[in-house]
Structures are given as C-alpha cells and as structure tokens.
C-alpha cells in the first residue's frame, strides 16, 4: 500500500485554489475521505504541534483578530450612517456598485418586527410607524428598534435562534423518546437572559460552567441545561459506548456553536482540511469529561431550606408507612435490580459491583448509566407483590397518599450539570484507552496543557475545567468565538452571514465576504460590554440594513456581483416555520401572548410556536413541513425548501382553515364586501389592497359564491375502502364468557378513531343503559374526555340542538380528576330549560386494565331530577367486586336527538376520542337492574345493540367513522359570504407576500 501523505495531496489540491467548493476540490475531499482512518496513525506519532503546517497557520480564521481601520469612502450621496456602511461601501465603490435606496416604511417595520420579535406588525402599528417615518426617518427607526428590543417577544425570537444552535429538544430521542418534563426551564432561561440583555460572555460562561462560576445562583445552574441536551437511550446496555456518545455530542456541539470549527471531523484522525490534530478533539473533550447529570431544583438557599423543612415533616409523618412498604419491597427490588444488572456484560457487572472506595470517576459515570436502568426496574417491583401482601401494600399506598397535603411541591425542577469529582477523568479514545488527554485548547492557538484552577480558586467538589474553557472561549481576543457570534448576528439580520457557513469557518466553509467588517464587529461586541442589544441597534440603524431588497441592479452590480455577496441590496428571506405559524395566529388576532412554562401539546394551541412541546420525534406540523431543525444536529441556518406538501398543508390543513375562518369572521363584520376585503388585507398583509387587487378580490368572492351555490358533487377521491370494522384479540382478559375474546382497537389519528353504529335514531330514549368492556390505553394530557360511547355533538351551545349524552373517562387535567368515569348530558332540566351537566361517578378506571363499565341513565319527572347509576369492575382481578354508585342529576326531559349519530369511541363531532380496545358494547332502552347487567346473574337479553365483535352480522351496523386527522373543518354551505371570505383569507395567508420578508 502506498505511503499515505495527506499533506502533499491536500497541498496539491489546494494550490492556488480558494476554499469555495470547486468541483476539483470536492473531488479531492472525496479521495481523502475514503482513506481509512487507521492509516493516519503514522502521521499521528509526531507531536500535535509539529503536525500543523506553516501554510495552515496562515489561514485567516486562526489568526488573531485584526484591528481594521474603518475605510475612507467617497460616499458622494451621503449614504453612510455608521461604520458598518463605510465597510460596505468600501467594497462597493471600487466595483462601481451603488447601494440600493432605503426600503419603504412598511417594509422596514415588517423586517424589523420579524428580525427582533419573529412576529408581524399589525396594520395599526404599520400606519403609526409610517407616519412617524415620514416626519423623521432616523428617529422613527431608532425608536422602533428600541421598542422592539424592549419587548419580551425579543427573547422569544432570539431564544429560538439559540435553541436551533444548541439543538434543543424536550425528549430523549431514540425509539422511546421519553419526554423530559423539566427541560423547558432551560428554554425559558434562554429567553429570560436574552430579554435581560445578559452580556454574551456571561450567557456562554453560565451555560458551560454556571455550577462552578455561580454555585449559589439558581439561574446559573439552570443555564447548564445546555450540557444536558444530548440524546439518551434508556435501554442501551453498552454503557461505556453511550457515555462516549454523550461526551462526543457535547464536544461536537460546543465546537460548532461556540468555535465555528467542525471539530467532530478530528474525532478519528487529524482534521483533513483544518489545522486541528486529532489530539485537539480529545484535549477539548477533556474539559467536559467530568460532567455528571444533576437533576435538582433551581432555588435560592431560603427556598431550598423551606422545601427541605417541609419534606422532613412529611418524612417524619410517613416514616412508619414507608418503612413497612420498603420492607415489603426489599426482596422484589433486589431481584429486579439483580436481574437488570445481569443484562449488562460481565465487565460492566463487575464495574457495577466494585466497592465504593475503588470506583474511579469514570466508573461512577458509567455506573450512573447502569443505575438509571436499575432504578426503572426497581420502580416496577411492586407489581411482583401477590395476594395479601399486595392488598396490604395497596392499603399503605392509600395511607401514604393521605399525607400528600404535607408533601412540599418541588420548586423549579431542572436538569443541570456538575462535576463528578474534582479529579475528572482524562479524555480517552474509546478503542485506544492507553491514549489519554488532559484539557487543552486548539494546538494552533495554544499548544500546552490548559492550566486548571487551584483548589482555592474553584468550588471544592469541582475541577474548574469547564470554567477554564468558558473563560478561554469568552475572551475578548479569542479569534474564533468572537468572530462566530459577530457573524451570527449578521446572519440573522441579513439572511446570510459574512461567513456563509455559520457553523464552519474552516477551509471547507466559505471565506468571509467582508473580513475587515467581521473583525471590527467581533471587537465591537466586547467593547459594548458584550451587549447583543447594542449590536442589534448598531446593525439595524445602518443604511446597509435599511436598504430595499427589491431593486433593479445597476450594470455594475449585474456585472461584478450578481449574487449580491457585497450587499448592495438587502436579502429577501422566507419566514421560518415558527414565524409562519405565529404570523397566521397574529393575523387572525388569536395569538396567545402568554410567555414561558411547560411546552404545550396539540397542534391547535394558540401559544407561540416556541412554547409547543418539542419532542425529537415526532415533530410538530409546521416544523415538519417548513424545514424546522431536526433537534439532533446544530442548525446554524434553516433550509428553505419549496415542496408540494407545504402547499397541501397550507391549503387543506385544519389549522390554516381555522385561522382563515377567524379572519373571515372578523372581515364579515364589515358592512360590505369592499370593507371586508380591506379588513382581510389589513389583517394578513398589514395594508390596504390596491384598486386592482380590490377588484380581483371581488371577482374571486363572486366566483367562490358561484362554486358554493353549485350542487355538491362528491370529490374525485379514490373509492372508499370497505368500512369494515377490524378486530383483534382482547388483551389482558382471557375469559370469553361475555366478551367473545375479540375487541375493536380504537386509536386517535388512526383509521379506527371511532365507530358509528348506523341506523339507530335514538331508540334508547331518555332512560337507558350503556355497558362496555374496555381496556383504556391512555388519557389525554389535557382536560379532554376519552369517550366510550355517545349520542352528542358536544357543540357547547345550550340549546335544543345540542341535546345529547356521552359516557366517558376524564383525562389528566380534568377538574373532575383524571380517570373518572362520567356521563355528560345536555338536555332539558327540571325547569324545562336546556342544561349541561357532568355527572361524575368518582369511580377511577385505570389504564391498561380490562374493565367492565356501565351507566344506567334515568331521567326524572316533574320537579325531581333523575340519576345515573354507575357500575365498574376490574376484570384483571378475579377477586375484584363490582363498584356501584348512584349520582343524581337535574334532567327530566329529552337528553338526546334522533339526528345525532350513535358513536363508539367518539362523538358526533371532532375530538374527545377513545384510545384503547373495546371488547363489548351493549345499549338497552331501559334501566337495567344490577342482576340484568352483563356481569349480573341473569343478563338481560333484549338489548338494542349488543356487539362483541365476533358476529359478522352485527358488525354490519358498525361503521368506521371518517378519521379526523388534521381536524378538517367543514364549510357551512349556508353562508356563502363567510365562506368566500374564508377562501380569500386563506389565499392571503398563502401569498408570497405573507411568506417572505422583503
């Protein structure tokens, strides 16, 4: 095999070449990239510092920051407002290119809003600004920028940018993708800190080492959540490899985010293109090898003391109960733990069982990964209890619960980081454990080992290694990190950075278009006390930022810089996924401005997108469709793809239809079409329509009204698949005495969301019995109801039209407590008026347990209301008895309507779906006595519907209902005006003017 000599090959490829991605260069990369890593070791025998060639030392990025002079420019037109403009002109003038004129007021305010808040300005704000701008352009712009920088939405926009970079997510990733319920506190910390204009160096230092720098400050501790964003696989048995992946993840991300180098490339061999010897990867990793996850509370010492005191009270009060429970669990726990540990390799088992005194810091870290799995097994140990012990244990659980009022609520739970011990392990190459590395900076900048703080200079439990790195990376003269952040600021105000590849300033990235300006900005930030807001002011008050983006290029621009690298005009940008979602909600005036808190689930939320729960898989609708970051890689620039699924979503998805409908109803309040059209334009585009647009819009309204008036023809969709109901074996209850052993599986978002029972126009009347055998899979995280069966449209109106009943189970946030078996009724009350009531049994139906449930609904007569008699029995427990409660209600008259359809697992309306299996359903048109129930001694035989999902004849009446996926909103044919305005509003939301920022 020929001698491998990367340097000569690179030199040959690069001679005279620029680092832009030429084809020849790219091919060269390819040749190099396929050389197996092992071959590089001969080279690696040399000291790292000797492996950096002279020409690499000359690469601009690794050289000290220059102190460029602001260029003298002719500026005949008096265009320049500040130094930035002089730097820009300095490049344009020699090429004979003139900068573009300033954008108009509406464009400027829209650009400023999206740049600083991620939201569009309202029509009123645009009008006010335009007026101020006409009187005093500079003053108006300066005031606008000040106002926006002070608005709390600033932190939400720039927080999102930071979250992109650190690949923020609220779950573990991998298959299980467990939710991390406290991760959002880091997100809120980012937003809060940016709003407070925390100096950027402190912002970074706290994220890297807040626990060491300000150990008593809960904010600093929260900041270390940055080091907790790694993916984690909760059942990975190869603990050392997983730990290695975690350390690599921290190293790679920090290299990209703070230093602008693709240091990950030096993991397996010397960096092929940049002067980064392989050693540097591990020298840098060695700053982080001490990390240890620290799940704690971000509290002041006083808060903590109060919590501890209260906790102690609870512990004292419950000591006996818990001691007894512990005794009962001792053996099952031991065997669960032993079983779990045995799943690891013999080496790891040995590590786990090592005596405490012998454990090295690395042992402790790896043991922690094993222990997490052991903990999960131990937590399930109570399921092993049997018979009497189990009964006693359940009693004790109940007893323990009765002390819950004593138990303090955790305060500000966070995921933080601390060092495992002050003697942190060296960094190691996993399969070459003999090679170990002490902390050190990039060799090209500082070849020696980093000097870590002496014990007196650091907290006693910590190494100070991360603080050392944090101090270095936030030095005002650090040529890497200062340029990287200066470039990011530029990037988000101009669409592209001075260095286009914002996470890679190395040779594979792009060269800076304005190197002097970049260095000038990189020096300016620390000179401004690291105030990001000062930098926004500087950039946005420049003439460069204020330029129009839509402009005819002059001949010189066309000739010398057709791609606008030199910024002779502003750049048009497309809204990012979150901006688009927020902007549609802002247009319909529905945006909920509430800040902070746990991420909200559900696509329907009116909160800003940054507050949507962000699982690594699956992603939210907008993030998934409009190039959201993937949460695994640092995202320094959003992709901008234009694909048909985006058009489908924007035209057809229920979220958009809802917003358009809301805009339409605001517009419809105007007295005529002209007014309505004006209103729709004002809400969406923040301006009045032109005369031509007005007339086009009128024509469009007329066309749509004509379409709506046409008789409906079924859409040319594929012939519908057989709506047969599918059944599977009913789990957890082998008896087939009254289930038949089969069940329908009902699952939201699937084809089997709910099942319609056809051709039954209310034969059950107003006194009836509903029975079901079911196994519930999950509750909603909110207050929605898992509907078992219903005849109800759940419209929320109190009128005769909304009469109906529903048997269901409450969810997590219900005010009737979760898992409560309830009947909801809208019907006629004792006074003869329509009334809505929740009749709650307080019988709890646990998840994943086969259960029999029944509700006997009886309406009253005259002045007396009626009752619902609930029955429930746990079928998994052969000894369980039937629980029965009678709950009064105030209905005397009809409690449903014949036109409402009867559904299993849902309602005659969207949402409130069941999730799980139903193995039997029976509906009788009278109040069954207890003995006549399915579980009674003499079951009734005269039911209206009795389905156990094994008899084919019966299933013909059962029809799979249309899935609600995307919650399609039906247009009401009755209102052509509203619907045509809906279409107009939807079209405006789909306009490029809405989607792009000039």
């Amino acid at each position: 095999m020929p001698e491998y000599s990367p340097s000569s090959l690179i030199a040959a490829l690069l001679s005279g070449g620029k680092a832009r991605l030429s084809p020849a260069f790219a091919f060269g990369l390819l040749l190099l990239a396929i050389v197996p890593p092992g071959l590089a070791t001969a080279q690696e025998k040399k000291a790292p510092v000797d492996r950096i060639r002279a020409e690499d030392r000359d690469y601009w990025f690794f050289k000290p920051l220059t102190d460029p002079r602001v260029p003298a420019v002719k500026d005949a037109g008096g265009w320049a407002r500040n130094e930035i403009d002089q730097f820009i002109l300095g490049k344009l003038e020699p090429k004979g290119i003139a900068p573009a004129p300033a954008a108009d007021a509406r464009t400027l305010i829209r650009r400023a809003y999206f740049d600083l808040t991620g939201l569009p300005p309202s029509h009123e704000e645009i009008q006010a600004f335009s007026k101020a701008y006409a009187a005093n352009p500079d003053g108006a712009v300066a005031d606008l920028i000040d106002d926006l920088l002070e608005s709390p939405q600033y932190g939400e926009r720039w927080g999102r940018i930071w979250l992109d970079l650190v690949r923020y997510g609220e779950s573990n990733g991998y298959k299980a993708d467990e939710y991390r319920p406290h991760m959002w506190r880091y997100r809120d910390w980012v937003i809060r800190s940016l709003n407070a204009d925390m100096p950027y160096d402190q912002f970074v230092r706290w994220q890297l080492a807040g626990d060491e720098i300000a150990p008593d400050n809960p904010e600093a501790l929260t900041a270390t959540g940055y080091l907790r964003l790694w993916p984690y696989e909760s059942n990975q048995r190869n603990a050392p490899s997983q730990w290695n992946i975690i350390l690599e993840d921290i190293t790679d991300i920090t290299g990209s985010v703070l230093m602008g180098v693709s240091i990950g490339c030096a993991k397996c061999h010397d960096h092929k293109f940049d002067p980064i010897p392989r050693d540097d990867y591990f020298r840098m990793q060695a700053f982080f090898t001490g990390v240890y996850p620290h799940d704690t509370m971000a509290t002041t010492p006083a808060e903590r003391a109060a919590y501890d005191a209260q906790q102690a009270k609870w512990e004292t009060a419950t000591a006996e109960i818990r001691a007894e429970m512990d005794r009962m669990l001792e053996k099952p726990r031991q065997s669960a733990a032993a079983g779990q540990v045995k799943q690891f390799s013999p080496e790891l088992q040995a590590l786990y069982h090592k005596p405490e005194a012998e454990r090295t810091p690395l042992d402790l870290q790896i043991r922690m990964l094993i222990q997490r799995q052991v903990d999960i097994s131990e937590a399930k140990a109570d399921s092993k209890l049997k018979d009497e012990t189990k009964k006693r244990y359940t009693e004790l659980q109940e007893k323990l619960k009765s002390f819950d009022n004593l138990k303090p609520k955790p305060v500000n739970e966070i995921y933080a980081i601390r060092d495992i011990r002050p003697d942190i392990p060296p960094a190691r190459i996993l399969d070459e454990p003999e090679r170990q590395f002490r902390p050190g900076f990039l060799t090209i900048l500082d070849p020696g080992d980093a000097s870590l703080p002496k014990p007196a200079e650091r907290p006693k439990d910590s190494s100070g290694a991360r603080t050392t790195f944090a101090n270095w990376v936030t030095r005002a003269d650090n040529p890497l990190s200062t340029r990287v952040i200066a470039n990011r600021l530029w990037h988000y105000h101009f669409g592209i950075g001075i260095v286009e590849s914002a996470n890679d300033f190395g040779k594979q990235g792009y060269l800076p278009t304005h190197p002097e300006l970049l260095d000038w900005l990189a020096r300016r930030l620390p000179a401004e006390g690291w105030s990001l807001k000062a930098m926004h002011r500087l950039i946005m008050n420049s003439s460069t930022w204020r330029q129009a983006s839509v402009t005819e290029p002059g001949a010189a621009a066309e000739e010398n810089d057709p791609d606008n690298h030199l910024l002779w005009r502003q750049r048009v940008r497309r809204l990012e996924a979150e901006q688009l979602r927020d902007a549609t909600l802002a247009s319909s005036r529905e945006l909920d401005p509430k800040m902070g808190g746990e991420g909200v689930t559900g696509e329907d939320t009116k909160r800003r997108a940054i507050y949507q729960r962000l699982m690594k898989n699956p992603r939210t609708l907008f993030l998934n469709t409009f190039d959201g970051p993937d949460g695994f890689n640092s995202c320094s620039r959003r992709d901008v793809t234009t694909i048909a699924p985006q058009a489908l979503m924007m035209l057809n998805n229920g979220f958009l239809t809802q917003r358009a409908r809301q805009i339409a109803s605001l517009a419809a309040a105007e007295k005529d079409d002209a007014g309505a059209i004006d209103k729709a334009f004002a809400l969406t585009l923040g301006r009045q329509p032109t005369g031509e647009e007005e007339s086009q819009a009128r024509d469009f309204l007329a066309i749509i009204r004509e379409e709506i008036a046409k008789p409906a023809t079924p859409p040319a969709a594929a012939p519908k698949p057989e709506p047969k109901v599918k059944t599977t074996a009913f789990k957890g209850f082998p008896e087939t005495s009254f289930t038949g052993g089969q069940a329908v599986n009902i699952q939201p978002d699937s084809l089997y969301e709910k099942i319609e029972i056809r051709d039954l126009p209310r034969p059950e009347g107003d006194t009836f019995t509903v029975e079901a055998v079911l196994n519930l899979d999950s509750l909603y995280p909110d207050a929605s109801v898992r509907t078992i069966a219903s005849r109800w449209n759940n419209s929320g109106d109190l009128s005769v039209d909304s009469y109906g009943w529903s048997l269901g189970i409450t969810s997590e946030k219900s005010k009737y407590q979760p898992a409560n078996l309830i009947v909801q009724i809208t019907g006629q009350d004792t006074a003869g008026n329509p009334r809505y009531e929740v009749v709650a049994s307080d019988l709890r139906i646990p998840k994943q347990t086969p259960y029999y449930v029944a509700a006997v609904v009886e309406v009253g007569a005259g002045k007396d209301g009626g009752t619902v008699t609930f029955h429930a029995r746990n079928l998994a427990d052969p000894k369980a008895t039937t629980q029965t409660v009678v709950v009064p209600h105030s209905f005397t008259g009809p409690v449903s309507l014949p036109e409402r359809r009867l559904f299993l697992g849902g309602r005659d309306a969207p949402h409130h779906l069941f999730d799980g299996a139903i193995a039997r359903f029976r509906l009788s048109n009278r109040a069954l006595e207890t003995k006549e129930l399915l579980i009674g001694e003499q079951p009734a035989t005269d039911a209206l519907v009795d389905a156990n999902f094994t008899q084919p004849a019966l299933t013909e009446k059962l029809v799979r209902a249309e899935p609600e996926a995307g919650a399609k909103v039906a247009s009401k044919p009755a209102d052509p005006r509203l619907n045509s305005l809906l279409d107009l509003s939807l079209a405006l939301l789909n306009s490029n003017e809405f989607l792009y920022i000039d």
């Binding site: 390819l30 084809l751 909103v969 079209a987 306009s991 003017e993």
Partner: protein
Amino acid sequence: MKLSHFERPRSRRDFLARAGAGFGSVALTDLLFRQGALGAKATTNAIGNLPHHGKGKAKSVIFLFMEGGPSHLDSFDPKPLLNKLAGQPLPASFNRPLTAMGEQESPLLGDKRVWKQFGQAGTWVSDWLPHTQTIVDDICVIRSCKQDGLNHVGSVCQMNTGSILAGRPSLGAWSVYGLGTENENLPSFVVLKDSDAMPFNGTRNWGTGFMPSTYQGTLFRFGDEPVADLNNPAGVSRARQRKRIDFINQLNRAHAAPRPRQSDLEARIASFELAYRMQAEIPLAVNLDEEPQYIKDLYGVDGEKTDAVARNCLLARRLVERGVRFVEVFCGTGSKWDAHSGIEKNHTDRFAETDQPVAALIKDLKQRGLLDETLVIWGGEFGRTPMSEKGDGRDHNPWGFTMWMAGGGVKGGQVLGATDELGLYAVEEPQHVHDLHATVLHALGLDALELVYMNNGTEENPVINQGRPYLKVFG
C-alpha cells in the same frame, strides 16, 4: 459535454430553490459539474439523461423491511449442526457475543423446519416460505449480512440510514437526492406499512437528517387520505380548490413580477400546481380496485392473513410503475418479527402474512417486464441467534444474517456469503450494512462514495466513507 436539460443555475442557492419545486435533483447537478470539471465522461442513458456512475439497471427500489428481525436460521440459512447441538450451550470455540437480552449461555435452539433445495442454484428455502420457493431463480440470497446495532433502535436506524445514531439521511433520501424523480405528480420516496403501528424510530427511518426535506419519504396511510392534507377540507370541491389556487397564483404572480431574480417565488407557484396534480394523481395511484381479480388473488388481497402486506406489495408495484423512485414497505411494523419467545408461532404468522405477497410481487414485476429495472430487497434489521431465549425464542443477531435482492440487474439463482456452522457470525464475504447500501446504490447506477452532500463543513456520503458494492450480486 452538452446537456440541454440542465442550464447551469446562477448560483447554488438559486438552483436549490428551483430544484426543490419539482423534486429535482441537486446531487445530480453537483455531480455533473464535478465530473465535467474533472473531464470525466458522464454517460447518459435512457432514463431522462441521468448520468450513471456504474452499470445500474435499476430505476426504482422496493425495500421489503421485515421489522423486528426475521430468523435466517429458519428461512434461508439451514444449519445441520444446530439441530445436532440443540439443547447444549454454544460450543466454547465460539466467541460469546454480548446479546441484547443477556442470555449468552442459554442452550442452542434447533430449528423445526423441513428444508429443501429449489431452482437452478439449489437454493435452500424452508417450508415456512412455500411461495418464495417458487421464485428462487430470480433472487440472490446474501447469507453474510452484518450490522453494528444490537437493539432495534440502533439497528433499524442503521439499516435505514447507515448509522446507529439518529440524524442521517435515509437510503431512500439519498437515492432521490442522487437521481431525482420521474413522476412529478407523485412523491419520489413513498413509505408503506402494514398496520397502524409505527416502526422503531418512526419517521426518521425515511427522514433526511441534515439534508433538506425535499428528499424525505412520504408515508402513505391506509384509507381515504393516503397523504397528510391531501384531501380538500370538507365542503370544498375540486373546482373550488382550483379557483382558490388560481387566485393565489394571481396574487403571487403580481408579487413576483418586480422580483425576477427570486426564483423561489416561481418555485412556490409551481408547488401549488404540483399539489393540485398530486391531489388527483395519488388517489388514482392507490386505487387497487383497478386491478383485476386474478392479480389481487396472486398477491393475496383480502386473504385472511395476507391482506395488509398484499395491498402494500401491490401498491408498491403500482408506484414504481408510475415512476416512484424508492418504496419502503414495512412488514410486521412495530417490530412484530421480534421473536424473543415462541418463535414457532411468531414466525409461522409472519411468514403466512408475507410469503405469498412478496413472491407475487416478484412474479408480477417480472411478467410486466418491470423486474429488470426494479431492485427488490428483502430483509430485517438483523437476524436471530442460534442460542435460545426464554426457552423457545431467539435473540437479536446483528453479526450474521440473511437478506435477498432481486431485479434491477441482480443475478438471480445465487446464494452468496456464509455464516459459521451455527449461523452466529458472518464468516464468508461479510457484507456490512454500508456494503449493502453501496450495492443498492450501485444497482441504481450511483457510486456511494461519490454521492456527496455538504453538511456543516463536512462531506457526507450515504455509506460514511465505508461501503463497497457487492459486485457478485450482479453476476
């Protein structure tokens, strides 16, 4: 070299935007320029002037993914020694692997199959696959596959994306990136699954990782709306949707007029038209009622066990027929092949569900002349161990397992590679997932190492610099 199809875009960004609109091929253009600049010859073939690196015959790929890991020891890789040693521990001469469930010392589990040889090559196939027995002359069995993952998460991820860690583009995405599409009215990468369950890792199996979402797979769902938001909202007729789009176009054209350089505005206008066409085309493509009864019977449509897989296999054929580049068919979605215990019952059911439809797919492609240009791959994320688990099951075996390929230039009637005497480790010509991926791409005429995408300053390729195509597969 003159290629009238591809006018060099003004800038890379312009091109990205333009290509995105029509599911075009960015890699292709990059490759063209690269090769042009290097003076290499770009060959063209009949498939719309695409330059092929190799001699690939395949235009499309159908990946039949048996999720959970089918046992090679009970299907394609008989081991007489296994039955001889059944009940005993793994002989000392074998390296103890770290098994997923930790039962390294459990006794070997014999197989209960009746084995016979079929076809020209005498390919061994067990009695669990009576239909596959009839197509062995069209398939190339590779008995020496291996991969790095040990559990499902890592292994399914690697079989789909090349890496056991999330964040990389899937093989389908790379294929589309490399070759673009042939039917603008359909997604170029379609994913089908046989139940409401999601496979391990969910949508990431057909995601694009660091590449733009243009190349991602589109999951077709059962039922009336095969693609998310494909149908108009209730009450909106196709005519009304047309009028809506016309009006949007009117607004967007007026907006684009003073912005002639902003090509993504044009792309967006085109994307609405494409969406509108997809709304018409996809329901037709998925309409299996167009198929004659004898074809449905061939696949086992409406069969008690075969129905779901049969529909997907038939749909896969209809899709490649219409120019879809990559179809991934998950069978046993949600890891249903994962027979840690009771493998007899489990695999009896799984093969009963898949054997007939899979064999029908090969026959049907062949009788239509589509097999030559369609590469079909069968396999799971790994195989299963010769050691038993929980008495009557088998654990994960990523060290040696079987996959097969057919069509797209593959020489059928072959059995390549081998595992050791107990089927634990691949020993002859081991084929890592990277090699398998390189082989698939080779069949498509793409060189896995030259198919490059720039990400954060790193040149990425589908095989992480490692795979080599297994050329013997092609004879």
